[in-house]
Symmetry: C2
Subunit: 166 residues, 2 copies
C-alpha cells in the first residue's frame, strides 16, 4: 500500500465512475494512454498526479455548477408554483461542442456536463422538491421548432424547446 | 418524449453511472435481462417502474449511509487531531458477501458499497476536512495480521488492519 498522497487504484476507479467516464475518456482528458489508466486502476502503478489533479478540478467544477444552478432554480421557483423543469443535456460530443463551446475548457466531455445535470436533478429533488427532467438535445426537432416560429439559436430558445418536450 | 413519470433513457444511464454499475449489474438487481437495460438506455422502451424504484431506493440507502457515517466521523474527530481515516472497501463480490452479509439486503453488490464509501470520502473532505482513504480488503494480508496478534475476525479488527495499511 502506497504511503504517498493521492488516490489509490480503487479510488481512481470510483472517481471515474462518479464522473461517468470510460478509461479511454480519462486517458483523453489526462493526455495519457488508456493502458496507463487501466494500470492505475489495477494498482500496477500510481496514477499521474497531474491527471488526479485534473479530475479533481473537474469534479469541483461540477459541484460548483450544481450549487450555482440549484441556487438559480431555487430563486426561479419562489414565484412559480409548478415544480417541474426541463434541462437540456447533450447525447453526443459533437452536439455538446457545437452548443457549449464555453464549457469545453472546464468540462471537456459531454459526459461531464451530463453528470453535472444528473447531480443537479438529484439535488433539486432532495433540497427543493423540484423535478428536473433531463432532455437530450435532438438537432432535427430543435431545428424544426425554431423554423416554425422563426427563432434564432440561443440558450433561451434551447430551454424553450426542451420545455415543449415535457 | 414520454409524458409519463419516471426516468427517461439518459437519466437511466446517469443513474447507473452514479452507482458505478454495469448494464449487466442493473439487470441482476432488477431481475430483468441485460438486453432490457440496454433498450431502456437507448430509449427503445421505458424502464420498468419497479426497477427504477429499486435503484432509487438503493441511491437513497447510500445517501443515508453517507450521512450517518459522516456524522460518526465528525463525532470521532472532535477529540482526535489527526485528520486521516481508513475505510475498508471490497474489491470482489465474494469478499463483500463474506464480510458484510447484513448489507446485502439494501446494497446487494460490492460496487454499491464502494460507491457509498467514495461518496463518504468526498463528503468528509469537503465538509469535515478529514482525509478518508479507501482500503480494499486483502484477504491474505488481513489473515496474516490477525494470526500475528491472535485476533478474531470482527468489524473492529478489519478497521485496525486497514489503519495499519496507511
Amino acid at each position: 500500500m502506497s504511503k504517498e498522497l493521492g488516490f489509490n487504484a480503487i479510488e481512481m476507479q470510483y472517481l471515474r465512475h462518479s464522473l461517468a467516464l470510460t478509461t479511454a475518456q480519462v486517458a483523453e482528458i489526462g493526455k495519457v494512454s488508456e493502458a496507463d489508466v487501466i494500470a492505475w486502476e489495477a494498482g500496477e502503478k500510481p496514477a499521474h498526479m497531474p491527471v488526479q489533479k485534473k479530475l479533481i478540478e473537474i469534479d469541483e467544477a461540477i459541484e460548483m455548477q450544481v450549487l450555482n444552478t440549484c441556487d438559480g432554480i431555487e430563486e426561479l421557483f419562489k414565484s412559480e408554483p409548478k415544480r417541474t423543469l426541463s434541462f437540456v443535456v447533450y447525447p453526443t460530443q459533437a452536439l455538446y461542442a457545437q452548443y457549449n463551446p464555453e464549457f469545453l475548457g472546464t468540462l471537456p466531455l459531454a459526459e461531464l456536463y451530463n453528470t453535472s445535470a444528473w447531480r443537479i436533478k438529484k439535488e433539486c429533488k432532495l433540497m427543493l422538491e423540484v423535478d428536473v427532467v433531463l432532455v437530450p438535445l435532438d438537432f432535427e426537432s430543435y431545428k424544426a421548432y425554431r423554423e416554425k416560429d422563426g427563432l434564432k439559436e440561443s440558450r433561451e430558445n434551447r430551454a424553450k424547446w426542451a420545455k415543449a418536450q415535457l
